[in-house]
Subunit: 211 residues, 2 copies
DNA sequence: GCTTTACAGTAACATTGGTTACAGAGTGTT
DNA sequence: AACACTCTGTAACCAATGTTACTGTAAAGC
C-alpha cells in the first residue's frame, strides 16, 4: 500500500532508485484531522512527504495569537522542516493536519545524502522552497493589501478547495483565530456574505453557495 | 580587486575550486544607491552574489502600493532569483540598491551545474532559502501582529543597521511607501518618537538618538 | 423535560489608521 | 527679493476593525 501511495504521489517526480530508497528508510504515517504534527520551538525528527490529505501551517506571536500561513497538500513537503534539518534549529511554525492525512517520514540524515546523489531530489527540494516562498508572498499580500472582507473571502475559497466540498466545518471563532481577527468581526462579515447570497450560515458549519 | 572582494565575502563559504570558477564566469558590477536591479515581471539574467552594500527587496500590489520585504547584505544572494533560474518564471519582486553596492553576477546555467558539483554551493543555496523564509516570517509577524508604531520602530532600527550610521536619509513620504502607510500617519508617529526623545527630526533626514 | 454550554447575532462604543485640507518652513532659482 | 517647490506639522474627519456586553438558540448532558 505504501508502494502504491508513494508511486501515485511522487512517481512522476523521483527516479526509481530514489523511490526504492524511500521505501526502505521511510515510515508510513496516518494521522487524523486536528493532529498536531509540529510545534513551535520543537526539534525536527524527519522530513514529511505528503501522500494525501492536507496540513495547515500556522505562525504564532508572543501573545499566543495565531495566523494561518498556508496549506501543504499531496506532493508537498515542509521547507521549514528541511532547513531545520541542516542547521538543527527549532521550528518557527506549528503544523496541524487539516484533514485526515497520510504521509511518509524520511530520516533527516538522508536529506544531505540524497541532495548530492539524486538530481530529482534536488529539484524537488528547490521547487518546494520556491512554492513556499511564493505562498508566503501571497499570504503577505493578503494581509498587507487587502481588507478583512477580502481576506475572509480568500480564506473560504481556499478552505473549500482544500476540503473538497461545499461545507466548511468551522465555528466563527476558529476562523477568527486563523485570520488573526475577532469572532464578532468574522460573524459580521459572514452575515454580509450571506445577505449577498454567497454562503448560508449554520451552527458549526458554513455552506458555500457561490464565492 | 574582484579576487580580494570575493575571497573576503565568500572565502569562508566556498571551496577554492568554486572560487576560481566564480572568478572565471562571474562579472563584477558596481551600482549606486537607488539603482533598480530587478523589476516585477522581468526575467532574470543572472544570480547576484552581494559583496558589499545592501539591496532592498520590495513587493507591489495591483494598485502600485509598495511594501518592503527585507534587505540583502554582504554574503547574501537573492533566493527569488534562484528559483526563477530553475523554472524561468518572472520575478515576483522588485530589488533596489539601498546603498552603493558591489556584486558579482553568475550566469544562470551555472546554478544547475554547481548544485551537483559543489557541496558548499548547495549549502549556500539552502542556507539562503532558509534565511529568506525566516525574514519573510518576521516581516509577516510585523504586519500581522504589530501596530504601525512598532512597525515604524523596527523599520528605523533596521534602516540604521543597514546604513551604518545614526542618520536616516529619507523623507516621511518615502518611509510611508515602504511601510505601505500614508505620509501623515508616519509624520504623526515620528513626532511622538521625537517627543519621547528617541529621534530628532529634520528636513530630509532623521537623526536616531536612542531606539 | 430541564439545565448547561457553546455558538451566533447584534448594538454601542473605542481605537487605529487613512484622508483631506491647509499652513508654515526650508531650499533653490531667477 | 520674489517665486516656486518640496517637505513637514497639524487639525478635523472618516472608515475599518476590535472590544464589550447582552441576547437568543441549538445541541448535549442529565
Amino acid at each position: 500500500m505504501m508502494v502504491q501511495e508513494l508511486k501515485n504521489s511522487y512517481g512522476h517526480l523521483f527516479e526509481d532508485a530514489l523511490i526504492n530508497e524511500i521505501l526502505q528508510v521511510g515510515t508510513f504515517k496516518e494521522v487524523p484531522a486536528g493532529f498536531k504534527l509540529m510545534e513551535i520551538g520543537s526539534y525536527v525528527k524527519g522530513i514529511p512527504l505528503l501522500v494525501s490529505g492536507a496540513i495547515k501551517v500556522l505562525r504564532e506571536d508572543k501573545n499566543g495569537d495565531e495566523l494561518l500561513l498556508y496549506y501543504l497538500e499531496k506532493g508537498d513537503t515542509c521547507s521549514m522542516t528541511m532547513t531545520c534539518c541542516l542547521g538543527l534549529t527549532k521550528s518557527e511554525i506549528r503544523a496541524i493536519a487539516e484533514t485526515d492525512t497520510k504521509l511518509i517520514m524520511i530520516p533527516i540524515q538522508k536529506m544531505e545524502i540524497w541532495t548530492s546523489k539524486y538530481k530529482s531530489w534536488r529539484n524537488f527540494v528547490f521547487e518546494s522552497y520556491h512554492n513556499r516562498l511564493n505562498e508566503m508572498l501571497h499570504t503577505l499580500d493578503s494581509i498587507a493589501f487587502n481588507n478583512m472582507d477580502e481576506r475572509l473571502l480568500n480564506y473560504l475559497k481556499e478552505k473549500k478547495r482544500i476540503n473538497k466540498g461545499n461545507t466548511i466545518r468551522n465555528t466563527h471563532q476558529e476562523i477568527a483565530f486563523e485570520l488573526h481577527s475577532s469572532r464578532v468581526v468574522i460573524s459580521r462579515l459572514l452575515k454580509k456574505l450571506e445577505q449577498l447570497g454567497k454562503v448560508s450560515l449554520h451552527r458549526n458549519h458554513i455552506e458555500v453557495i457561490d464565492l
